[in-house]
């Protein structure tokens, strides 16, 4: 169908880019989620006043372009601190905090959605704060948070397309390199888009399904 100069080694090159996209996403989402849970519970636990500095800091990550966050982090570590960090480390570091900022919001909302009466009941049975958290709050809050968290993870995967700016060759950057060389933008972009779509679409559907199921009962 297509008359293309695309070779097998080009496809391998693209696949490597896709692998990098998945790697950056996996690292950032896992670390960011752990941090996000900690920040989220912290914010809920100490109340809005004491949490204000954390709230403000996390909000910054949601209020300025990711591209600028990456450039700033890179400049800060490279030019200011003169540390020799790899692009991958900077990319994962920034995306982790970016994920944590959104995740903390989701976690706080989900924990707040657990009725106080349920928690009182747990504590009345003699459970400690930690037991209440692990046996009552976490299972209930997870149900509420899961659909949004899936959306967040997919969002981070899509946003990871920006880490090219710190010299990480992920999928979209690999595509662009090939476009420059082969001058076949449409085919290459469609391949690249299809990859994101094939991963994102079914998982997003699953998220939507979970959300509907949870809101029904």
């Amino acid at each position: 169908m297509f008359n293309t100069a695309l070779t097998l080694s080009d496809l391998v090159f693209l696949a490597k880019g896709a692998g990098m996209t998945l790697l950056v996403t996996a690292i950032s989402v896992s670390l960011g989620t752990i941090l996000g849970i900690i920040f989220g519970i912290f914010r809920f636990q100490v109340g809005p006043v004491w949490a204000a500095p954390v709230t403000f800091l996390l909000d910054v990550f949601r209020s300025i372009p990711l591209l600028i966050q990456l450039v700033l982090a890179n400049a800060f570590f490279g030019m200011v601190l003169k540390l020799n960090l790899t692009g991958l480390a900077v990319a994962c570091g920034v995306l982790t905090l970016y994920t944590a900022a959104y995740c903390a919001e989701i976690v706080r909302g989900a924990v707040e959605a657990v009725p106080t009466t349920t928690r009182r009941a747990a504590r009345s049975l003699g459970m400690t704060w930690l037991q209440d958290m692990t046996h009552i709050v976490l299972p209930l809050a997870t149900r509420v948070a899961l659909p949004s968290w899936i959306g967040l993870a997919l969002g981070v995967m899509k946003d990871s397309a920006l880490v090219y700016i710190v010299q990480v060759t992920e999928l979209l950057k690999s595509t662009q390199i090939l476009i420059t060389r082969l001058q076949e933008p449409l085919l290459l972009l469609m391949l690249c888009g299809a990859f994101y779509f094939i991963i994102s679409f079914p998982i997003a559907r699953l998220g939507g399904y979970l959300e509907r199921r949870l809101s029904n009962d």
């Binding site: 209020s63 600028i68 030019m79 933008p185």
Partner: protein, 221 residues
């Protein structure tokens, strides 16, 4: 403490130029939202029809917009369309890319808002003799607006943030583009982008707070 001397004074000199860039950023975001809302309303009405073609167009658009990176969409608008011999300026490509993304998310937003208005509202309006378009315009739509308003203001914030991607298709008059150009002359990367970050922060916060205040005024019921 650092082996790097910050030169804020020098960087601040460039502020007027950056603020001009910020204005272009606002223009693109506002335009992309206005067009995006118009198309999303059109798409919402398409979804009310039983036409497979119309519904197919909407679904395809919405799913691609939501399941691929915004940067990909902007590339597509610039390099993808260019392979059909149509060459857009960076400004137009960026506007198309962001608008495409906006339409996807806004259409979903409107669909949710639509579902939240009970059928009985339309029935009541029709019983009073209002035609279907009148019932939609005077009864359903104003109520939808309330539900869709804050999510739409979030999309506006996204649109602002997405303008930074224009640099990848050669855009250099928006805030990010101006900053990048200044950086290539002065190499004060940290200072310049820190100032840009503050400007972006002020813009997004203003939108968020403005939207809250406006919502409180508009929707008093």
């Amino acid at each position: 403490m650092f082996g790097y001397t910050f030169q804020w004074g020098q960087a601040v000199k460039w502020l007027p130029q950056m603020l001009e860039g910020a204005w272009v950023t606002m223009e693109i975001a506002i335009l992309s939202m206005l067009i995006g809302i118009a198309v999303a309303i059109l798409f919402t009405s398409f979804r009310q029809t039983k036409s497979r073609i119309l519904n197919g167009i909407v679904t395809t658009w919405v799913e691609i917009a939501r399941n691929t990176p915004a940067l990909f969409q902007i590339y597509m608008a610039h390099f993808g369309i260019a392979s059909f011999g149509i060459h857009f300026s960076p400004f137009v490509s960026l506007l198309i890319g962001i608008t495409f993304n906006n339409v996807g998310y806004l259409t979903e937003n409107f669909r949710g808002a639509m579902k939240a208005i009970p059928d009985t509202q339309t029935r009541a309006a029709r019983s009073l003799g209002l035609s279907a378009p009148q019932a939609f315009a005077f009864v359903v739509m104003p109520q939808m607006l309330r539900i869709a308003f804050l999510p739409a203001s979030n999309q506006m914030v996204w649109a602002i943030l997405m303008t930074s991607l224009g640099v990848t298709v050669g855009m250099n008059s928006d805030l990010y583009g101006v900053t990048q150009d200044l950086n290539s002359v002065t190499f004060r990367t940290f200072e310049l982008f820190a100032i840009a970050a503050v400007i972006f922060y002020v813009i997004t916060k203003t939108i968020q707070i403005g939207a809250r205040l406006l919502a409180a005024r508009l929707f008093r019921y």
